[in-house]
């Protein structure tokens, strides 16, 4: 079993990892916000979602943050009339991805905030370890 301060560092880094995976999903969604299908009537890019789960870590005796599942958003696609588009169906409608820029931006801010909080924990633990080591120095 790790000591509490090392366990704190492990937990905080699991949080950092989970948040960076979430950031990856957000950037994938944003990058593919206009990715349509190639053939007539084909489905476009489907927005990805991510969920987290607390996983018990036996080595440190604490609950790490883990990515539970990367799923897809099943809300309907946006439809636009554009008969000249390669992915347009018989009636001339093109299906566009169900990515909402506003939602992705809000999600990105939240990732930022959580990441910052985890970094703050790392900083505090480091300063506490520093204080303990300083005891030997005086």
């Amino acid at each position: 079993m790790l000591d509490s301060l090392s366990a704190s560092l492990t937990v905080a880094s699991s949080g950092l990892e989970a948040q960076s995976t979430r950031m990856r999903i957000v950037s994938e969604n944003l990058a593919n916000a206009t990715s349509t299908g190639r053939t007539a009537g084909a489905d476009p890019y489907q927005r990805k979602t991510i969920t987290f789960d607390a996983a018990m870590d036996r080595a440190s005796g604490s609950q790490l943050a883990k990515v539970k599942e990367i799923g897809v958003d099943t809300t309907p696609y946006r439809v636009e009339y554009d008969p000249g588009h390669p992915a347009a169906d018989k009636a001339g409608y093109v299906k566009l991805p169900n990515v909402n820029m506003m939602i992705e931006m809000a999600d990105m801010r939240e990732v930022n905030r959580s990441y910052e909080a985890n970094l703050q924990v790392v900083k505090q633990v480091r300063s506490m370890l520093g204080m303990t080591i300083d005891l030997l120095r005086s």
Binding site: A12, Q19, F52, A54, S114
Partner: protein
């Protein structure tokens, strides 16, 4: 302090300081868990019982006044993580971690730890001064 960990005069302070340091480390680890799971659905924020409560709950120890007395195992400071009731916010997913609250707790722990190590350092200097004189 003697080998058996029994309370001997004013040197009890070292034991008290190290049990507070253990408590603060555990609290920091609980805060880290809360922050890491700030976006986990259904995760309930946890906290450790206040230190004075832990200290009050410590069993009274029998003093050993003769070498023939039986030794009792040194009671460990036991800090139970308790489910927190006074969370600032509970979001729709059932998560009750408030990052602001955790940051405040984190800086509290940091400050207490700094005071703790300062006390240990100055007490250590006192002991050394006594030994030199």
């Amino acid at each position: 302090m003697d080998q058996n960990g029994a309370v001997v005069g004013p040197l009890y302070l070292f034991e008290l300081a190290s049990s507070q340091a253990r408590y603060l480390e555990l609290r920091q680890s609980t805060i880290a868990t809360n922050v890491a799971n700030a976006n986990t659905p259904g995760f309930r924020a946890r906290d450790v019982e206040p230190f004075n409560k832990v200290l009050d709950g410590m069993p009274v120890r029998l003093a050993t006044t003769s070498p023939s007395h039986m030794q009792l195992a040194a009671a460990e400071t036991d800090t139970r993580a308790t489910a927190k009731k006074d969370s600032w916010e509970v979001v729709h997913s059932g998560n009750s971690v408030s990052l602001e609250q955790e940051m405040i707790k984190g800086s509290d722990v940091n400050r207490d730890y700094s005071m703790n190590s300062a006390i240990v350092r100055s007490f250590h200097r006192m002991v050394l001064a006594g030994a030199k004189a």
